[in-house]
């Protein structure tokens, strides 16, 4: 595993610290030997081929999957770090009469009682959250009627309602067009600048990764590379992570030319 981080810079306490972490499904290890420290305000992207363990690692950070070895610390100076999560997609039936505002109220206090609708203070909170993502006009829209980009903005607004310290994004560009991708790039950088938010993102889109990330972790069931996008997103390293099929494809192109 190649790491390009400098050993001479003083390191503030990380907000997230994984030490030799591993997760397995039955006898098969999904990810193993993951050691990683993420600092507040950092944007870290996880890249790798399908089945590399990216979503498994993300779900482990969320606490949805327990670690089978190693340790995970999520701490700030004033207590456990809070997490916000934006899943890849909703499983909702598109005909469900749930509006965006009602969906946001699912993540608003009081958490226990919820009967749809929104009172005045909830409406104000929801509109404020949506406005920060230029999505206030979506408040009355049924969730099932949202486009991919609109859905992403609403899900981010949902995740940010509880003012998390770490935002976890799973394939945020799924179903999002080019304009939406550009908006998302700007949004991630703005969230970091305005809220000092730590972002950990799983993505196949190396363009997005390259444009927003401070560091990139290449995974293929174990750590294959960790460093800045310029250091890690190099062809030979990506070939190593994604495997020889990519080399064969490039080889056949040369011969065709």
């Amino acid at each position: 595993m190649i790491s390009f981080s400098s050993v001479n810079e003083p390191a503030p306490a990380p907000i997230l610290h994984l030490r030799d972490a591993g997760v397995r499904y039955g006898a098969q290890w999904a990810v193993r030997h993951i050691s990683l420290a993420v600092h507040r305000g950092e944007i870290l992207s996880l890249v790798g081929p399908n089945g590399a363990g990216k979503s498994t690692l993300l779900r482990t950070l969320l606490g949805l999957i327990p670690l089978d070895e190693g340790a995970l610390d999520l701490h700030t100076s004033h207590g456990p770090a809070s997490l916000g999560y934006v899943p890849q997609k909703l499983e909702i039936d598109r005909t469900v009469p749930l509006t965006v505002m009602e969906m946001l109220t699912l993540n608003m206090p009081p958490r226990r009682l919820w009967w749809g609708g929104a009172n005045a203070s909830q409406r104000a909170l929801g509109l404020d959250a949506l406005a920060r993502l230029e999505a206030a006009h979506l408040a009355a829209r049924p969730v099932g009627a949202l486009s991919g980009g609109e859905f992403q903005r609403v899900m981010i607004a949902y995740a940010l309602l509880r003012r998390p310290e770490i935002l976890l994004l799973d394939e945020p560009l799924t179903g999002v067009d080019k304009l939406g991708a550009e908006l998302l790039e700007d949004l991630i950088l703005k969230l970091r600048a305005d809220h000092h938010l730590t972002v950990i993102m799983v993505s196949h889109d190396l363009h997005l990764v390259s444009n927003v990330s401070d560091r990139v972790l290449c995974l293929n069931q174990t750590m294959c590379g960790l460093g800045t996008p310029q250091e890690v997103l190099q062809e030979h390293l990506l070939d190593e992570v994604y495997g020889s099929r990519r080399q064969g494809h490039r080889h056949s192109h040369r011969h065709a030319a």
Binding site: R59, L62, G63, L64, L83, Y85, P87, K89, L90, E91, I92, D93, T95, V96, P97, L98, T99, V100, M101, E102, M103, L106, N107, R111, R112, L113, W114, W115, G116, G117, A118, R123, G126, A139, A140, R141, P142, V143
Partner: protein
């Protein structure tokens, strides 16, 4: 209508409709949105087998057995078995539900026939709402209050599972436990509501009112409020209608539900529900 207050059995019938109609419909909001309509239908049908097993236990033990309790236990056990098959086999859910409920109904009919209680099947399949006693009404009222409280206290959990189960888990909700409680709520509703319209038609009370409400609701709160109102309306209309027309009460209640659904379909085709935040 004066007859309903002059005769206790008619009064009890109307009260049963007032109690069970809205409660079943409220449960149905979450059943339908979670895609469990066929599942609830299967449990309702299998209640017949629960009754049959209750009769069998009475014969074996030579002791009165609370049939409703046996129905509840059997329905919940069946729900648990179906859930196990969903997770561990390659069969699709609708296949598992289909063989589970047809198999259990067949078993129920065979057991009832073997016990010589075949004449009771009619009431079990189509309901015997006129046979409600005061004790039945008290049980129905207490159960329905508990069911409504359970659903309203956990509406957020079940709404999150409709939206995205992983979001629910990420917010610390123990989904498997809540799913078991939901299956138990459906099984208990079947056990308590069976007398009203019978095993064959009970799922109509659970499924049709929220389906109608969904068509004309612009948001979730509207659907949550409207479904019990439509359920109540259909139940009362069915009871009054069957008394007027001399028709079987259970099927008449279901027909009243269908009429309301058709009206809502017509309305939704000619009007667009207005979504409000």
């Amino acid at each position: 209508m004066a007859d309903f207050w002059n005769y206790e059995f008619l009064r009890n019938t109307l009260l049963s409709a007032l109690i069970l109609g809205p409660a079943c419909a409220l449960l149905g909001v979450f059943v339908t949105l979670r895609g469990m309509a066929f599942f609830s239908d299967a449990l309702a049908h299998s209640a017949l087998t629960g009754v049959a097993l209750g009769f069998l236990l009475e014969e074996w033990l030579d002791w009165p057995v609370p049939t409703m309790l046996v129905v509840l236990v059997f329905c919940f056990a069946l729900a648990t078995v179906m859930a196990y098959f969903f997770e561990r086999t390659r069969l699709k859910p609708d296949t598992i539900i289909a063989f589970s409920f047809t198999g259990s109904v067949a078993l129920g009919v065979v057991v009832i026939s073997a016990l010589g209680k075949y004449r009771l099947i009619d009431g079990l399949l189509f309901g015997s709402i006129y046979a409600n006693t005061r004790a039945d009404l008290i049980l129905q009222a207490v159960f329905c209050l508990g069911l409504i409280a359970f659903l309203l206290l956990n509406a957020r959990t079940y709404a999150l599972t409709i939206l995205q189960p992983e979001l629910a888990r990420a917010q610390g909700i123990r989904l498997e436990r809540m799913n078991y409680f939901f299956a138990l709520a459906v099984a208990a509703t079947v056990a308590v509501g069976m007398k009203m319209v019978g095993a064959l038609l009970l799922s109509a009370l659970i499924v049709i009112p929220p389906a109608a409400a969904k068509l004309i609701s612009g948001n979730f709160r509207a659907m949550l409020c409207l479904a019990p109102v439509l359920g109540l309306t259909a139940a009362v209309a069915g009871v009054v209608g069957s008394n007027t027309l001399g028709s079987p009460t259970g099927p008449t209640i279901v027909l009243a539900n269908v009429a309301i659904l058709l009206a809502c379909i017509l309305f939704s085709l000619t009007h667009r529900p207005r979504a409000t935040a």
